[in-house]
Amino acid sequence: MTTPLPPPKRKDPVKRTRQPTLPPANRSREAQGLTAMAAVGRFALQTCTACGAVQYPPRQICGQCLNDDLPWQDVSPHGLLLAETVLHHSNDLFFRDRLPWRLGVVSMNAGPSVVAHVAEDCRQGERVRLSLGLDRSGMAVMQARPETPSANEEDDGQLRETTFDPKDRRVLIVDGKTDLGLALAKAFGAAGAREIYLGHAEPWKRSPKLAAAEALPNVNLFPLDVTDTDSVQELASLLGGKTEILVNNSYYLRQGGAVDRFDLNTSRDEMDVHYHGLLRLAGTFGPAMRGRGADGAHGATAWVNVFSPYAWVNNPAFGTYSASQAAALSLAQCLRAEMTAGGVRVVNAFVGPLDDEWHQLVPPPKLEPDMVARRIVDALKDGREDVPIGAIAEEMAARLAENPKELEREIRL
């Protein structure tokens, strides 16, 4: 059993907040392939199409037969922990701050030996299960865990550096007034979030969903309108230094394209919520969260954007909406790069059509908000950063990887 993580203590205001540092991020182009696998939660290594040999570390030429076709394929994550060490000294500031640090060599069933971070419950000479995580630099790393998941596994201090576990953390859900907002509040509560801040625009308008959310334990409502810079700034000055996970779930959905519905006002509203809304949140909450990226085991860890998969490819039935989502996604890539400096990770969830009033005219499959919220929390616990949710998003991701032109031509309601 992993030693349970003690709940956060009250912060000593005199003590200096630990400055964010990052583990080494220097990787070859080949090794970035591993990061692409970790980002979507796959355990895959390069596998030779000619001789089948599994390769590690990543490379461009098969170490067995010199073939150069080495696609990434899912492989068995199991292996034997052959050797271990606990470092009491490191040449890198990130690890120096976190010593002692446990490492090992795992001989994989798939063939290669890998150097891995080793979780508390693993024993030398015993079988282990490897997983790929994204470290604080956003780079893929191998992690050895006990072969069968152990109690409190997610509390392991080293693992927690590569996951964004909501347990004992404070979460801001930007839009609490929607079905998804309520579902997120429930899911984060179930995952052990310490406090849940629920934003809602137009505080004079009450709704049954807000009332239901407010009745949940550890949930508090705060006025927040992402289209109003003053409102965002005001809340950031109140909560920016406490928010450890921010979930930007605001959205503004109207049907219509550019020719069939020429409507600048709607398109301005979409941009104001999706693009400028994200920009306002980034400019106000971003600096505070980035500064707390290394603030102990419960420091700021992740920024979640809930996007539509139409951010990838425009769906003309929601033409201007898709365009504003694409703009927001582009900004999220910028945000990811900037937040990485503080070790805070940007997670983009791509959610297919929800089963709510704004998707009334959209044919099924449509997603239950509760399921979407659970999938977002799972992605945080696993440490994934690109998260398609639902059959439509998953199918679009696969079609994009295969033939983007086909998707562009065929995408319809």
Partner: protein
């Protein structure tokens, strides 16, 4: 091997020189290599123009290589080599130089290894050591070679029952040798208590299991025995050499080095066996790798090095003289010069030029080198058997 290997009968190794080690230096690697060349010329009574071949090893010459060094030092060789093999570079340089001299491509080859150590240079070296290390080792705790050898040591201890006391005995014997070697940076005796209770670095390794990076240079000359006699230079002879890279790639973790593949060839060409060896200079950045060499070079079976070390005295006047100048563990690791340290000491022992104590009646010495943890194991191994010139 179908073709008979040619011997090294006419080869002379002479003029062993050391540029004294310092923990840190403001000098560049160019300075250390240049002063080593000056020391070689002075010791051999040669002019720059008499040396027509150079073989250079260094980690800290960058952005230069041996090429840039020729202009820097104002030399015009007709034969030039740069050996990027770190700890294995000594014997490899010797092999290259000996064949060049035998073939007549060069008359006198200066083999030089030198490195500087600025305050932050070791960290920079290991932070970009190799592509595989950058991608798959350094991001895991950034322990550098300490972590890599901790894995090998941990596995070796569990597999073969070696104890910390066994490693300690070797380190203490080397320190004893070093106390009489003027260039050793470690000048205090080491007790088992000191060794066992030193600051932990990377379990099971503690402070005295780890070499100390430093600055310094080592160099020697390779020429024909004829030439050495004409110059009046004492020389050691060369009986045999081996080299191997990426041996046993299918071993899931390193328990043996390339020596195990080539040991029969090593003794076969020399015409002698392990019992005839009077002293061993082994690569010793961490004690476990000494154990592997003692096994792989035929002094005992696989896994028996602990027993061997318990049963023998490893000091210079013991029954198994081992790293007689103190080795890198006590002298310091001057980058690539660490790959020359044992070879230079062997030449000194066999030419009666020791700076510390001499091994009595030493006629055959074995030098073994190891280098370059590219990912999870050291890739380069080499070894040579040297003799006394009247042997």
């Amino acid at each position: 091997m179908s073709r008979q290997r040619q011997g090294y009968d006419d080869i002379a190794l002479c003029a062993p020189v050391t540029i004294p080690y310092t923990r840190y230096s403001l000098r560049s690697a160019h300075w250390f290599c240049g002063r080593a060349l000056a020391a070689l010329l002075e010791s051999a009574g040669l002019r720059k123009t008499d040396v027509d071949g150079y073989c250079i090893s260094s980690f800290t010459l960058a952005p230069d290589t041996a090429v840039g060094l020729t202009q820097h030092l104002g030399v015009t060789p007709r034969w030039l080599d740069h050996i990027p093999m770190g700890g294995a570079s000594g014997v490899v340089a010797l092999r290259r130089a000996a064949r060049a001299v035998q073939a007549g491509d060069a008359e006198v080859v200066a083999c030089i290894a030198g490195d500087t150590n600025h305050v932050d240079s070791f960290r920079k070296t290991i932070a970009s050591f190799s592509q595989f290390a950058n991608d798959a080792v350094y991001p895991y705790g950034s322990g550098g070679p300490n972590a890599s050898f901790a894995f090998l040591t941990d596995h070796y201890m569990r597999e073969y029952g070696a104890t910390r006391e066994d490693f300690g005995k070797l380190c203490i014997a080397q320190r004893d040798n070093a106390l009489r070697f003027p260039y050793a940076l470690m000048k205090r005796p080491l007790t088992l208590d000191d060794y066992l209770n030193a600051r932990p670095i990377a379990d099971p390794l503690r402070l005295f299991d780890c070499v100390m990076p430093c600055a310094g240079a080592e160099a020697f000359l390779v020429m024909t025995q004829d030439r050495a006699r004409k110059l009046g230079l004492p020389f050691a002879t060369l009986s045999s050499t081996i080299e191997r890279h990426n041996a046993f790639p299918d071993d899931p973790i390193q328990i043996r080095g390339g020596w195990a593949m080539d040991v029969d060839d090593l003794y076969g060409l020399a015409g002698i066996g392990a019992p005839e060896i009077d002293f061993v200079q082994a690569y010793d950045d961490y004690p476990v790798i000494c154990f592997l060499q003692i096994e792989d070079l035929g002094f005992c079976g696989k896994g028996d090095a602990s027993k061997f070390v318990r049963e023998h005295a490893l000091t210079v006047n013991g029954d198994f003289p081992f790293n007689t100048s103190g080795g890198q563990l006590s002298v310091g690791q001057a980058g690539a010069a660490g790959g020359f340290l044992g070879l230079i000491e062997a030449i000194r022992q066999l030419t009666d030029q020791t700076l510390g104590d001499a091994v009595e009646n030493a006629r055959h010495g074995l030098v073994s080198c190891f280098g370059m943890i590219n990912y999870d194991r050291g890739l380069c191994s080499s070894a040579a058997i040297l003799g006394r010139s009247d042997a």
